[in-house]
């Protein structure tokens, strides 16, 4: 359903992503793990069109969407929960969700699911989003992703800066979103947390995919253990 065909991303003279090819099937919970600067965020941003694709192609549901503008991709069902949450701090929690539902028919239908996942957002409904804690902001960012009714939900470092308990809660929520039928592509530095929930994993280093396969196999790979799992 989402396919990257030898994708390159360049910033001026620097090549951040070097011809990666990735295929994600309907219902997958795919994880791209890798260190800081490996090109994971660049990959996600290029998929949704936040940064231009230098070479290669992006296919979504069989269609070439390499040059499709971001807002059109979102309407087609490709939704990114960006790194650093990017919630609108001067809008309330409710208004943030409303924004996510801007282009969606009947956006309120997802609110029940959102509040079962993150009951705290229901309590903070009328509060301005800037006053939320970091964890709550991440929950709101993911909630916005749900409200947009994606076919594929892309998540960029959702565990960044969160306590271990919160990381667990967020990962659990991502798993539930996937079990409800949404395909998920998760990008994480926290390899341990990501591999626990993923159904398919990719290891990214210096702009290239160096390893891919079953998360359980990746987790026991010696190189990965040494580099990312601290074992």
């Amino acid at each position: 359903m989402l396919e990257l065909d030898s994708l390159f991303v360049r910033y001026g003279g620097i090549t951040a992503v070097r011809g990666i090819s990735v295929k994600i099937d309907d219902g997958d919970l795919a994880a791209i793990i890798g260190a800081n600067g490996a090109g994971k965020s660049s990959t996600l941003n290029a998929i949704v069109g936040m940064v231009p694709v230098a070479e290669g192609k992006v296919f979504f549901d069989g269609q070439d969407v390499t040059r499709t503008p971001t807002h059109v991709k979102v309407r087609k069902g490709m939704v990114l929960v960006p790194e650093g949450r990017r919630i609108f701090p001067n809008l309330t929690v409710y208004e943030n969700l409303q924004m996510a539902g801007y282009a969606v028919k009947d956006w309120k239908s997802e609110l029940d699911f959102v509040f079962t996942l993150f009951p705290i957002l229901n309590e903070r409904f009328k509060q301005s989003a800037g006053t939320l804690s970091g964890g709550e902001q991440q929950m709101l960012a993911i909630a916005r992703g749900i409200v947009a009714k994606p076919k594929v939900l892309l998540l960029d470092e959702p565990s960044l800066g969160l306590s271990p308990v919160l990381v667990q809660q967020i990962m659990g929520a991502i798993k539930q979103i996937n079990q409800r039928g949404t395909t998920v592509l998760l990008v994480e530095q926290n390899a341990f947390a990501a591999l626990r929930i993923a159904s398919k994993a990719f290891v990214m280093e210096l702009g290239e995919i160096t390893l891919q396969g079953e998360p359980s196999q990746i987790a026991v790979n010696e190189h990965v253990r040494a580099a990312y799992l601290g074992a």
Binding site: V48, M50, T70, H71, V74, V79, P82, F88, Y102, A103
Partner: protein, 290 residues
């Protein structure tokens, strides 16, 4: 008391124009220096439709609103949109260019000519008196129109889908496409609304001062810009407050017999506010995002 009415009139006009500055700044962090000239074009549209077609208030209002709306959107699409990712200084210089173009285009002999023109009276004027204060129906129209528009704009920004989207663009421009929203449309709408307010400003202006000239937008635009900055640019309530503050200050200077000093007083107020509270009366300090 008569002076208070004068100040309210002047302040209403400043406010309508200041709202356009502050809205556009709030959304794309850019001062549209051609905004005062959009006001001028609005006034000329009124002049033309009331002299040629003998339109009354509503006809003139409709034409001024539609005309300036279109002008604002065209200016944005043609002059500013190609520079969306260019340095801010290029945008600023382009805005000055657009401003000079509009002034001198209107001043061309084949267009309107550079001489001031008198606008014939197009609304019935009656004078009311309340105690020893006299006011005209024109003044009532101006105040009611301006206040109604301000309340409408406040409601629009606060409670409508588009208004929310505008606040979202103002808050995090780059994250808005991720909500499935075409930012270009939101920016166009901001220009349409801001320019329409300037158009209404032009209409109200020629009701009180029935004369148009191609350079009338410079001083009024500058004053409205000061009002927006004094109130805290980007903040619509600040723009209104700043507009009335400047108007009252100017009228007070005139009433006190220092009419030569009115402009100096307005600019002096700007300097004082910038020294004491650089973000304006209602503004919040925000770091320029890199």
């Amino acid at each position: 008391m008569q002076q208070v009415i004068n100040a309210l009139m002047l302040g209403s006009m400043y406010a309508l124009i200041a709202l356009g500055y502050t809205m556009i700044y709030g959304i794309i962090r850019f001062i549209n220096f051609a905004h005062g000239d959009v006001f001028m074009v609005g006034a000329y549209i009124v002049f033309n439709v009331v002299t040629i077609f003998k339109f009354g208030f509503w006809g003139a209002l409709l034409c001024a609103v539609l005309g300036t709306m279109l002008l604002g959107v065209v200016i944005e699409r043609v002059a500013y949109k190609p520079l969306r990712n260019a340095p801010k200084i290029s945008l600023l210089i382009t805005a000055i260019g657009v401003s000079l173009f509009l002034e001198n285009f209107v001043a061309l002999p084949v267009v309107m000519g550079s001489m001031p023109k008198v606008v014939p009276s197009f609304i019935p004027i009656s004078i009311y008196s309340l105690g020893n204060v006299k006011f005209s129906s024109a003044q009532v129209i101006i105040l009611v129109t301006a206040v109604a528009l301000m309340i409408f704009l406040g409601w629009f920004i606060r409670s409508t889908k588009l208004g929310r989207a505008m606040r979202a663009v103002s808050s995090d421009y780059a994250a808005v496409p991720l909500m499935g929203i075409n930012v270009d449309n939101i920016i166009s709408m901001a220009f349409a609304i801001g320019s329409a307010l300037a158009g209404v400003g032009g209409l109200l202006y020629v009701i009180v001062y029935p004369e148009v000239d191609p350079f009338m937008g410079i001083m009024l635009g500058t004053k409205a810009f000061i009002a927006a900055v004094v109130g805290g640019i980007g903040n619509i309530y600040g723009a209104v407050a700043g507009a009335y503050l400047i108007a009252f200050l100017e009228v007070a200077m005139v009433a006190a017999g220092y009419s030569m000093w009115r402009d100096a007083a307005a600019f002096g107020l700007l300097i004082i506010v910038l020294l004491i509270k650089p973000s304006g009366l209602f503004g919040k300090f925000e770091k320029e995002k890199v």
